[in-house]
C-alpha cells in the first residue's frame, strides 16, 4: 500500500475507545504495516469526549490526522460522530453506533432524539458512506453492555480487512477482559462483522 489510511475513532470516555484503537494498530502491525494511535488521556477520560487518531501505512510520521483527512470515522456514540464530522471529507466512510449518551449537565443540556441526529447525519454524509449500527443494543442483548466497543470494532473490520491481520485480530479480541467477558467480547466482535455484512453487504 502507498497511501496512509486515516481512522478517527470517537466516543465518550469510559466506552473502551483506547482498547479499540490499540487493537486496530496492533492488527495493522501484525500485518507488517506501520501504525500510530494518538490517544486522549487524563481529564478527557472522565466521561468527556474522546478522539483517537489511528494511522496505518507503509511509514507514518506524524501523530495527528488533519481536518477533512479521515478515511474512516468509527464512533461508539452518535452525537460524538457529529462533533468530529469535520475530520470527514466527501469520501469518508462513517461507521457509527446509534446510541446517544447525554452528559449529566442539568439545565445546560437539552435532551436530543437519536432519530433527529441520524437525519442530520444523513443530510451531510453522502449516500453509501454512512453505516449505522445499533452496537449498544447488540452488546446489551448479549448481556455485555460494556462490549459495545467490540461490536463497533467488528463492524469496522470488513472495511479495513486489507490493512489488518484478521487472524491476529480475532485472537487479540479474545484476550480483552477476563473470564466470561472474554467470550462475550469475541461474540460482540463477531456480531459487528456479521451485521455490516448482512445489512450493508460489506463482508470479510
Amino acid at each position: 500500500m502507498a497511501r496512509t489510511v486515516n481512522i478517527v475513532v470517537v466516543g465518550v470516555g469510559g466506552q473502551g475507545l483506547l482498547t479499540l484503537s490499540r487493537i486496530l494498530a496492533e492488527a495493522a502491525m501484525a500485518r507488517g504495516l506501520d501504525a500510530l494511535a494518538a490517544e486522549t488521556h487524563g481529564l478527557s477520560q472522565r466521561g468527556g469526549t474522546v478522539i483517537v487518531h489511528v494511522r496505518i501505512g507503509d511509514e507514518v510520521h506524524a501523530p495527528l490526522i488533519p481536518l477533512g483527512g479521515a478515511d474512516y470515522i468509527l464512533s461508539t456514540e452518535l452525537s460524538e460522530t457529529v462533533r468530529y464530522l469535520s475530520y470527514a471529507n466527501r469520501g469518508t466512510k462513517v461507521i457509527t453506533n446509534t446510541k446517544v449518551i447525554l452528559p449529566a449537565l442539568p439545565g445546560l443540556v437539552k435532551p436530543i432524539e437519536p432519530r433527529e441526529v441520524l437525519e442530520w447525519l444523513r443530510s451531510k454524509v453522502g449516500k453509501g458512506n454512512l453505516y449505522t449500527i445499533e452496537a449498544s443494543d447488540i452488546a446489551a442483548g448479549l448481556g455485555a453492555p460494556q462490549s459495545t466497543n467490540m461490536v463497533v470494532l467488528g463492524a469496522a473490520t470488513p472495511f479495513l480487512k486489507d490493512v489488518l491481520d484478521l487472524g491476529y485480530l480475532e485472537k487479540r479480541v479474545a484476550r480483552v477482559g477476563r473470564g466470561r467477558i472474554r467470550e462475550l467480547n469475541l461474540e460482540a466482535f463477531r456480531r459487528g462483522i456479521s451485521y455490516v455484512c448482512e445489512r450493508y453487504g460489506v463482508c470479510l
Partner: protein, 645 residues
Amino acid sequence: MSLARTIGRESGKELLLGNEAIARGAIEAGVAVAAAYPGTPSTEIVEALARVAKDLGIYVEWSTNEKVAFEVAYAAATAGARSLTAMKHVGLNVAADPFFSSAYTGVEESFVIVSADDPGMWSSQNEQDNRIYGLHAYIPVIEAPRPKDLKDVTKAAFELSSELKHPVMLRSTTRLSHTRVVVELGPIRRPVTRGRYIKNPSKYVLVPAHARRMRKELVEKWGRIERRLEDFPFNAVEGEGKQLIVASGVSYSYVREALEYLGLWGRVKVLKLSTPVPLPRKLVLRAVEGVEKILVVEELEPVVEDQLKRVLFDEGVRVEVRGKDLVGYLYEMTLDRALSAVAKFLGVDYTSPEPLVTEVPSFVPSRPPQLCPGCPYRPLFYVLRRIANMIATRRGKELEPIFTGDIGCYTLGMNPPFYAQDTTICMGASIGFANGLSHVLGDRLVIAVIGDSTFFHAGIPPLVNAVYNGAPFLVVVLDNRITAMTGHQPHPGTGMRATGEEAPAIRIEDVARAVGVEFVEVVDPFDLKTMQRKIMEAVDYIAEHRKPAVVVVRRACALLAVARARAAGFEIPRYVVDLDKCTGCGICYTAFACPAISQLSLKDKRAIIDPELCTGCGVCAVICPFDAIRPEKEYDKEKWESFWR
C-alpha cells in the same frame, strides 16, 4: 501494558505507548533507578518501569512530589547509578530548585530528566515550554522528531549524559507520549544497581565559594556541550534547495508530511533538529550554506528561532528568518498548521481535503469531563453545595463559602450543579489560598478541597502554616486511596509502593493531628447524613475557635472498587428505577447529577439508569426522596463494601 511483553527480548517489534517507548529506551540504556510523581502526560514512563522493576532488578518509586523524585534520581546518578526522573511540565516548576543545582554539580553517571510538556493543555493548567528551562539552567534538551524515534532518542540521551557527566533533559509532549507506535527492540545494557559514592564535597556542597568556581566551569562546559551536539545522531540535514525549514522535535514529522503532501519533499532543505538546546552552531551554519530564506517550525515558544537568529547575527549571515509569524505560538502542532506555514513560506498554493462540515451543530451537547458514576466525590460535593446554599440563605449571599480547589479529579467539582471550586491554581494551592483568603475575608468561610495524593505532594506545608499562623478555614481532604486522575498510582497513604509491595500507610488524619490541628474528623461520603453533620460541626468549630479544621472524606475511587470486584469475579450490582414510584423530581440527575442517570425521554421526566454506565454505588437510592431506586437483584452487601475500602 505492553512493556512487560518486551522484557527479555532484544529484537522484534512491539506496539508501545510513546511513554513506554521512553521506558524501553531507558531499559536498553541500563537504567538502574527511576523516580517520579505522576502527572499527565508523563505518568506511564515510570508506571511501566515499576511493573517490570522486579524482573530487571532495578529500583523504581513513586515519590511524594517532583522535587523529591528529582533528588532521588539525581542522587543515584551522583553515586554512579544510571537514573531517570519524569514529570509533567509543571512538575519541573516544583523540582526547579534541584534542577538548577544539578547543572552546577554535574553527575557521575547518566541522569535523564524527562519533561513531558502539554501543548494544547489537554490535561494541564498552563502551556509551558520547558526547553527554556534547559537554556536557563544550562542543561541540554533532546527531543524526538517522530514518535517512532522516542526509544532510541532516550537511549542516546542516556549515553550523552554519561559521556558529559551532566544531566540531560529529554523533552516529550502529549502527542509523543500518548501515541502508540511500532518500536523495534534492541539489546539491553545490564543495569549497574549497586552505586559507589566517592566523597567530593568541593563539587557537591554548593556553598558560595564552590558555586562561584562551578558557575565559571559550567559556562565553559556549555560551550563543549554545544559542540558535542553537532553530530547528535537524530540531527540531520535532508533534501536540498535555497529554502531551509528548521523543524524542532515532533514538528519535524508534520513538516515532513506537509512537504510530502505538497510534493516538495527532497526539494526543500530541512534541518531535522532533535537538540534544540543548546542549538549546535556549526550544524546550523552547515545547513544555512547557500540558503536564501529560513522557516523555523516549532511548538510553543521561539526557542530555536531566537537562538538561530543570534547565531546568524553573530556570524554575519543575513538571510530572512520566518517562524512564529507564520507558525504561531498557541497550542500543539497539527498538519494543517504546518502545511499552511510551509506553503506561505514557499509561496505555493495547495488545496487540502475539504471537511464535510466546519462547525459543530448546536444540538451536540458540550461534554466536559465529569465525575464518574459512583465517584465518592459526588456525594461530598452534593453535601457541600447544600451546606453552601444553607449558609447563603441563613447569613446572606455575600457570606456564601468560598471553595479553594486543587489539582485532581475533584477539580470537576467546579461544574454545575455543584459549583464547589472557586479557585484552582496549582498543586497544594487549595490550602495555600485558604490561608491568605481567611486572613482578609472576616467571617466568610473558606473551604479548601484537596485530594489525598495532592495533600502529600504539597498540602502539608500550607496546613502547618495555617496552624502556626492561626488561619481559620476548613480543609476537606478527599481520600480515595489512590492517585486517581492519572490512572491509579499508589501514594504514601495507600499502603503500597510503586512496585506492588506493602508499605506503611500514612494516615492523613494522623498528619493533621501531628501538626497541631485540633478538629480532625474522618467521614464516609456514602453516609451522607453523618458527613453533613460532621462538616457542620467543623464549620461551628472554626467560627468559635478561629482555627483550622480538617475533615477527611474516605472511600475508594469507584473505578478502583469496580476493578477490584471484577478481579475477584464479583458481579457489579446495578441499580434500577421503579417507574411506579418515580415522580420525575429529577434530584438524581439534576442535583446529584450522576452521569448514569437521565430522564426517560424528552417528555417523561422520570429517571432511567443506564446499565452501561452504572457502577452500583447505590448512593442514588439513598438520596431518592421517593424510595424509587433499588438494586436490580439482591447482592452480597458486605462483600461489595469490602472493595470500596
